[in-house]
Amino acid sequence: MRAPNRRDDEVRQLLDTPHPVVPAGLVASAAARGRRTVRRRRLARQVLWVLLVAAVVAGIVLAVVTWPDRQDPAGGDTGDGTWWSPVGMGPISAPFLR
């Protein structure tokens, strides 16, 4: 805090006038406007939530409907108790698995 200054005090005296009288309907109209804003915000939030839920549901449905059928890879079961993975582990023999 700096020391009081005479020049600043003069400006403060210039500003030192009584508060103006607030008109009667101003606060009521401001509250009404604020209420409208609140309602608009609530509506916007509800619309956004509905859109979000709809998007998630649509995504799930699309994924379920258009999921590609499982295709057996070229390799796999060889029929003699051994199998190999197409991913790249190479042939795994039965004794090794045991």
Binding site: R7, D8, E10, V11, R12, Q13, L14, L15, D16, T17, P18, H19, P20, V21, V22, P23, L26, V27, S29, A30, A31, R33, G34, R35, T37, V38, R41
Partner: protein, 202 residues
Amino acid sequence: MTSNTWLPSHGRVGKRRAAAEIRRDAEFAAFTAGAAGRLLHTATLLTGDREQAERLLTATLARTYADWLRLRADDPYDQARAELVRRFACRPWWRRPRGGVLARLTAQERLVVTMRYFEGVAEEQTAAQLGLPTDRVRAIGARATATLRSRRYDPAGPAPRAADRTEGRPPSGRPQEPARTVAEARDRADRAARRAAEKVAP
């Protein structure tokens, strides 16, 4: 309040929201009863015009009302003043203020003078709210002070200051720390006048 009572939670949510609305209305009414005059004074100093100040104050109070439940422990007056300042500072250049006590100052100088000298906001806080460096705020304030002191602008002639002063004194001998800002002193004077009027009325 709510029409669907077949789900218990729905009725409860409606009641809670209604209670919040009632609380908001009551608290907002109490807040405006105490602070609207001071905010209108600030807006009048900024815009220089009564009608514009009322419009600015209405917009500010509407925003404050809408945000009331969000500001939990913050001072609503500080929030409202920040909103007022923001709304005024974001105005385009063709809506520049004219007239009023600070008629010879630019919009930025009006902002600095009003916040620094009328509201008593610290330099750093003023700078943060206006998005300026602190030195710049100090320089603007010094320039505005020099402008105001160079030739006093007084459209209505010298106001009866001494009468106001004596009227604004607290009536009782209760020890009270001196007001730190102009706005605070005016608040006290208003409150004392209202108390005196209430004492006379009944």
